[in-house]
């Protein structure tokens, strides 16, 4: 589990009793967000009718995310586009940078994903209450349910609603951690089986790397699309 260790880089920064030191996790957060900013800034600088490669990349990502939002949350979700775009890109880049050997995976820490998920949860809930007032509580009362079952259903709905941040954060964190642990385990097998028997786990390791890159993209996508779905619940009350 060494690869998930957080350690201090540079001096210890303490505000009161709270340790806010710059760590390797912070370093990779900075790297990821800088990479996003640099790539998309380069992609938006020149406006040619026929885009160059980096511009194409930026514009394809833009249309990809905007299509994802309009498909799942409708046109009302447009003001939240830049947040969901930033979220998707941040998670995607953190996941992808984590695939580099010796790099630290920011999203493999539950506290990071939980903070993101909790922010989304509270944000979506606040948006829901602002848009619908107390009518937002109708979310917990599905229509067309027999009155007898209603208390049970409402309890289940409330629990499922409250578990959203947990499921959202744990999904991302567990996927990233499990993938990296697996790769480490197979890497360890390569070493312990030596030059004779190590080829099989090495092949697995290569295959897993491909799989993990896919998972890194997929989990970022899932994170973003679930955010869109929650936002959809808050914006367009369906129940």
């Amino acid at each position: 589990m060494y690869q998930f260790n957080v350690y201090r880089i540079g001096p210890e920064i303490k505000i009161g009793e709270v340790d806010l030191s710059f760590t390797n996790a912070s370093l990779f957060m900075v790297i990821s967000s800088l990479a996003v900013l640099i790539i998309f800034n380069l992609g938006s600088k020149k406006n040619s009718l026929i885009p160059n490669k980096i511009q194409l990349l930026a514009e394809l990502s833009y249309t990809f995310v905007s299509k994802m939002i309009s498909d799942t949350a409708g046109s009302k979700a447009k003001p939240y586009f830049s947040f969901i775009f930033s979220l998707f890109m941040f998670v995607l880049f953190c996941n992808m940078f984590g695939m580099i050997p010796y790099a630290f995976t920011v999203t493999s820490h539950i506290i990071v994903t939980f903070v993101l998920a909790a922010f989304i949860f509270f944000g979506v809930t606040i948006i829901g209450f602002i848009k619908h007032g107390f009518g937002y509580l109708k979310l917990f009362v599905p229509s067309g349910v027999p009155v007898v079952l209603l208390p049970l259903i409402v309890v289940i709905e409330v629990i499922s609603y409250l578990s959203r941040p947990v499921s959202l954060s744990v999904r991302l964190f567990a996927n990233m951690m499990a993938g990296h642990t697996m790769m480490k385990v197979f890497g360890g097998f390569v070493i312990s089986l030596g030059i004779v028997g190590g080829w099989l786990p090495l092949g697995f390791s290569v295959a897993l790397t491909g799989l993990e890159i896919l998972v890194a993209f997929l989990q970022a996508y899932v994170f973003a699309i679930l955010t869109c779905i929650y936002l959809n619940d808050a914006l367009n009350l369906h129940h």
Binding site: V6, S26, S33, V36, S44, K45, T63, H109, M177
Partner: protein
């Protein structure tokens, strides 16, 4: 070389696992030592990225996309317009060709009619002339026909009177001879 490399890797591996086991064990994720630092830096990095993206970068990309869309639709519109124009021109051209074809046909027809008329006229004139000639000839023939019996009679009476004179040396009365000749001709006829 490779063996040495793998050996050193093995040493690292053992070292790491030793360090690991020296730790409290379990997942570092659940160790709250750096939680606040992570939250703090997450908010800072994500916040700065979000602000810069939403204020500077994304509007530019969206503007670029809009501009491109507008330009493409403009170009399509212009192309459409030009196509319409060319269609119009093509129609005009077709009309022109049709008109000129009709005109050419008219000219041809007119010329043919004129020629036909001329030919007819000439033929009529010729026929007229021919007819006249024929009439004249017929008249002459008729004249000749009408005049011939008298002449024949005259010649006959003259020759007969001459014959008689030479034969018998007597002058015969002309009228009696002509009466006889007439009688003979009637009989022969």
């Amino acid at each position: 070389m490779f063996l040495r490399f793998s050996q050193s890797l093995l040493i690292y591996f053992l070292l790491f696992s030793y360090v690991e086991s020296a730790e409290s064990g379990g997942m570092p994720q659940l160790n709250p030592e750096f939680w606040f630092s992570q939250i703090f830096w997450l908010i800072i990095t994500f916040g700065i990225m979000f602000i810069l993206l939403s204020k500077l970068v994304l509007p530019k990309i969206s503007e670029n996309l809009e501009v491109r869309k507008a330009q493409i639709s403009e170009n399509i519109e212009a192309a459409e317009k030009q196509r319409e124009e060319s269609d119009k021109k093509l129609k005009e051209y077709d009309q022109l060709i049709l008109n000129s074809k009709n005109e050419a046909k008219d000219y041809f027809n007119k010329a043919r009619e004129k020629i036909l008329k001329d030919v007819d006229k000439k033929r009529e004139n010729l026929e007229k002339e021919i007819n006249e000639e024929i009439n004249k000839a017929e008249k002459e023939i008729l004249d000749l026909k009408n005049k011939s019996p008298e002449k024949i009679r005259k010649i006959a009476s003259e020759t007969s009177s001459d014959l008689i004179k030479q034969l018998i040396g007597v002058e015969v009365n002309n009228s009696s001879i002509s009466a006889i000749v007439e009688d003979v001709t009637r009989k022969t006829n």
